[in-house]
Symmetry: C2
Subunit: 190 residues, 2 copies
């Protein structure tokens, strides 16, 4: 028996914004699939909202969309249920060594996470600091503090990496699930 | 001050399947908007999943999707959080006077609702009997019973209207919210 080494594709650098966060997103989706298949939780990524303008029917029962546009989502990307608890979060990546810029978060996402928190849902971000290859679970409450302060005198336009080290939770990257963020929810939030 | 009467557009009959359930869906969405605006719950309809095949960029930063197809959703249409509880449901309409055909429900929706129930989420259908103009909240448990029995000897391919009368919950149609399904959840599920 010979174990052939697995060749990894060379990583392609791209400036296409649609691909930003692709890896983080697929790591989270793989973790969610693991959770689902093991009866641990039911968490899905919401489809990207698309405004359909025209549809043609080249074949019976087969609708072909010929003109459509991406819409701004009104919520976060991920939600679901874990042992009776409502889970809601978004995934963010940053190339910065020092902080996560608040402009990575849309105002409607803040509104949504606040509404979820008021309904006693568990709201957070998963933030990937690419230069350190570290993944953090940032409770929404800390995000709100920085968001609300950004326009005040002592406010800043980003959340420092130091804050992540001190107040967020490091998610170890593993084999399965790749990002066991629910372990942190269980240990520290429930 | 003159109050001009509001003219309602004549209702257009259509066989376009994309419009089936349009009214029920918008009634539920209006109810969800009411819940959101009044801080009662955060429940959204998930976007329809679409497989994008080609995108053109006719203008800077403006992506135009030129070829795409509808995908089969892997979950139900609606989910969210109500006072800490995870809520998950789908909306179904039927023209039948006697029953709701089980073929209105996709097998993957059954799988999803089962997984949600196991995670202690609140899972149900909202079913509109159009001929009676009645709306029912059908607990997923009853749906599962009929689903599992359909291939047995005494099984049937639909849930009788009588079962709705006896075991489901009638949702009164009102002004705001139009369909106060969370009132039933609060009274009978929590």
């Amino acid at each position: 028996m010979i174990n052939y080494p697995i060749k990894r594709k060379a990583q392609v650098k791209t400036t296409n914004y649609a691909n930003l966060g692709m890896t983080l997103e697929s790591d989270i989706e793989a973790s969610n699939t693991y959770y689902l298949n093991h009866g641990i939780a039911v968490i899905h990524k919401k489809p990207t909202p698309i405004q359909v303008v025209s549809v043609s029917y080249p074949a019976r029962n087969k609708a072909k969309i010929t003109e459509a546009y991406y819409k701004t989502p009104s919520t976060t990307d991920f939600n679901g249920v874990f042992e009776g608890h409502y889970i809601d979060f978004d995934a963010k990546e940053t190339n910065s060594k020092t902080s996560m810029p608040l402009k990575n978060v849309h105002p409607h996402q803040i509104d949504h996470l606040r509404a979820v928190s008021k309904q006693k849902g568990i709201a957070f971000l998963i933030v990937h600091f690419k230069v350190y290859n570290e993944y953090f679970l940032l409770p929404a409450q800390i995000l709100f503090e920085y968001w609300d302060e950004q326009h005040t005198e002592k406010g800043r336009k980003s959340i420092p990496y130091e804050t992540f080290k001190e107040k967020a939770f490091l998610i170890p990257f593993g084999f399965q699930p790749r990002l066991d963020y629910l372990k942190i929810i269980k240990q520290s939030f429930l």
